[in-house]
Symmetry: C2
Subunit: 433 residues, 2 copies
């Protein structure tokens, strides 16, 4: 093991403006020196494993455009390597900024290798999944195996890894009071392990060794929330915030080691508690980028959790979350397929974009003003081109024209749509005034 | 014309606790006297035309559960009476609290008659659509025709009507500065009429006559926003707020006449301006129920405007909007079909419910806690029953099981889903701890 790698964070701290910083500054309309300062202090991360050579760097932090992550990956019950590449393609096509491979089934290393090779976006993983798959039984999980898996993933080029190092033995009683106990997969596996062995969380006890591997390959850590609430009834409780306190200390240890870090957040939060949750993370964790999952804001709409959670995600991003982990329509029901990946990414691009506009980020509204201009001019083709999902927009217009018996060549020319028809088209009438 | 009808508002002002007030109090977990006071002051409306005999009364106001309206109706290009009944059925099935018939095509009176007969929910209309359809040419619109249409619709049993009485001749120059001018159908028709004739808005000049008809049949007025912005670039501008000032004065005139009234609002508003818009209406308009359309919070997602706008609708309801007019995925592209109606209603039930939970309305979270309990118990059937859209939830689980080669009878029994599979199911693992 060599320690010669100088990490992105260490370079920034040494005053070096790296090519990655220049790239991020340029795509975010910021000054490189400003980005450097934030990377040095840890309030912006630029995940880039030194082995992920085809990566186009992006920055994640409260100062920057809100990022969207799409989870893909198989389960023991579903999917194969080819299907996962289709999901990757879909996620990138519709604008995911990062992609996590959460495979827990067969062929995990092969799937990951292909995903990294095909992705210019940073790739994240949750190493405990592969560790458990390799251990076979949860009892056989141990520090050595965990470190081995993390090392192999780092060598393969994984840009950021979720480690559930914040859930401790002393937190377990807090979960007992909950309606849905522990809903994080990593969290529940570790909780059972700790309970069975009456030993502290191995991801916590070997955290310094994890940091060494991250330093060597310049891996960003995403500090997982194993205690995230799984329903509104469990939101913002003692279990959640006890773990957040530990995550805050781990952020400091990452920063001291020159390892970039993010903090993961819930999950399920009622709308009125979202701002408080964002503020609390910023204050406790030294403004480390907050990477939130949703949150969903109601529990009773299975089949529509891309919507319930894009509402929470917008509010979260508006109050300072830096990256939004998408939720698909299949959440709470099954493993997402390629269509679900698309629907999830689009819902989250909407949330991120809505927050970016509300926060006045540079040029955030350009695309919206351009599409409004195209609407004023009845330039349908331009509207489609500027849409987050041109295919669906085009298809819906075609469907509506077809249902009203109009020929398809109306599609491009008509100075109205079937919503109002010619005589009631407000945009057309307005032009006459 | 007889003036013997005593309106809901007049009865409430006289201290009478009507059957409608009792019904609303019961369904909202409130005291009848509290509801009566709000109806008397105009901060709650209970739309009920005396001729709509099969109506189940609901209340609309900031104190009460957030309501959702679904627009249906044909255009000159699309749909027939039967299709509109299918849309009505879909809207009610998924929980729309009120339905507006916005037909602008053929058979308007027949479609409306059928809709009123089949709907226990209050029915709204926009009389200028029928008036224009009957006039043929916009120039031929006049006060007499407008009043005649309003009278006929009132006699037929329409519970509330949108009248664009707030857009005045003096406001027209404000719209000229806009990217998308006037996007309200009623607003654009009236603007052109005023411009061509250089005369004041007939819905404004004959407002007292409109009030007389509303008093006679106890019709609630929904004061339309003909100047609502049609894109983010036009939001919260002079045109919008100049009209809002007039609407505020019309609210006072309605209240003085004992006619219930709501105020309609935008439309397109960036996320950070929504709270200000809600506050402004409350302050200016004496807290008259605010009935908002969306608002969409980004312009570049045609095909997904049920999502872009459910985000804005949640924020709007959280800050005091009383009723949310849905937006369907077809918005900006064409006339919604029955599936679009379902998708729009569900997205808005989500928004309304999220706000009701956030505002701590009585029993708002009961359904969510029950579904979370069912999740903890792997009671799939109960989860489906409690879902806003049981069919879709059931179908998605079935689809996921099928994709993973599982038999369908797994559906009801399995203590996991295909998302994580058996070994990685956090809910199952949690139970073992």
């Amino acid at each position: 093991m060599s320690f010669l790698t100088i990490t992105q964070m260490q370079k920034a701290a040494a005053g070096i403006i790296t090519p990655e910083i220049i790239q991020v500054a340029s795509s975010e309309f910021r000054q490189p020196e400003e980005i450097r300062q934030h990377v040095a202090s840890g309030t912006i991360v630029i995940p880039r494993n030194i082995h992920h050579t085809n990566l186009v760097p992006i920055g994640i932090g409260r100062l920057l455009r809100t990022k969207v992550n799409a989870n893909i990956g198989n389960s023991a019950l579903s999917s194969c390597p080819e299907q996962e590449l289709v999901k990757l393609k879909n996620a990138l096509k519709y604008g995911a900024d990062t992609v996590m491979d959460l495979s827990t089934g067969k062929n995990i290393p092969l799937i990951r290798k292909q995903i990294i090779e095909h992705s210019p976006a940073p790739i994240g993983t949750v190493p405990i999944y592969e560790a458990l798959a390799r251990a076979g039984k949860a009892e056989d999980l141990n520090e050595e195996l965990i470190l081995q898996v993390i090392r192999e993933q780092a060598e393969q080029g994984v840009d950021y890894m979720t480690v559930h190092s914040g859930i401790l033995l002393e937190h377990l009683p807090f979960a007992r009071k909950r309606l849905l106990k522990i809903v994080s997969r990593g969290g529940s596996i570790l909780a059972r392990w700790m309970k069975q062995k009456n030993k502290e969380n191995p991801f916590y006890t070997c955290f310094d060794d994890i940091l060494k591997i991250c330093m060597e390959h310049d891996v960003t850590l995403s500090l997982g929330d194993g205690m995230r609430p799984g329903c509104l009834a469990d939101a913002s409780d003692q279990a959640q915030f006890a773990e957040l306190g530990v995550l805050a200390k781990l952020v400091s240890r990452c920063r001291a080691a020159g390892v970039q870090s993010m903090v993961e957040g819930p999950g399920h939060i009622p709308f009125h508690e979202i701002a408080m949750n964002m503020r609390r993370e910023q204050e406790l964790c030294g403004d480390a980028p907050f990477y939130i999952l949703g949150p969903v804001v109601i529990d009773c709409a299975p089949g529509y959790d891309h919507i319930t959670s894009s509402i929470g995600a917008t509010m979260g991003a508006y109050h300072g979350a830096s990256m939004l982990c998408y939720v698909t329509p299949k959440e709470h029901l099954g493993l997402p397929n390629a269509k679900d990946v698309r629907d999830g990414v689009i819902a989250y691009k909407i949330a991120a974009h809505a927050a970016d506009i509300a926060l006045g980020r540079p040029h955030a509204r350009d695309r919206d003003d351009a599409i409004s201009q195209a609407r004023a001019e009845f330039d349908w083709e331009k509207q489609f081109e500027l849409a987050l999902d041109p295919d669906t927009a085009r298809e819906f217009r075609r469907e509506a024209l077809k249902e009203s018996g109009k020929e398809l060549d109306h599609e491009k020319k008509a100075q109205y749509c079937t919503m109002c028809g010619l005589d009631f088209c407000a945009v057309r009438i307005s032009k006459e005034i």
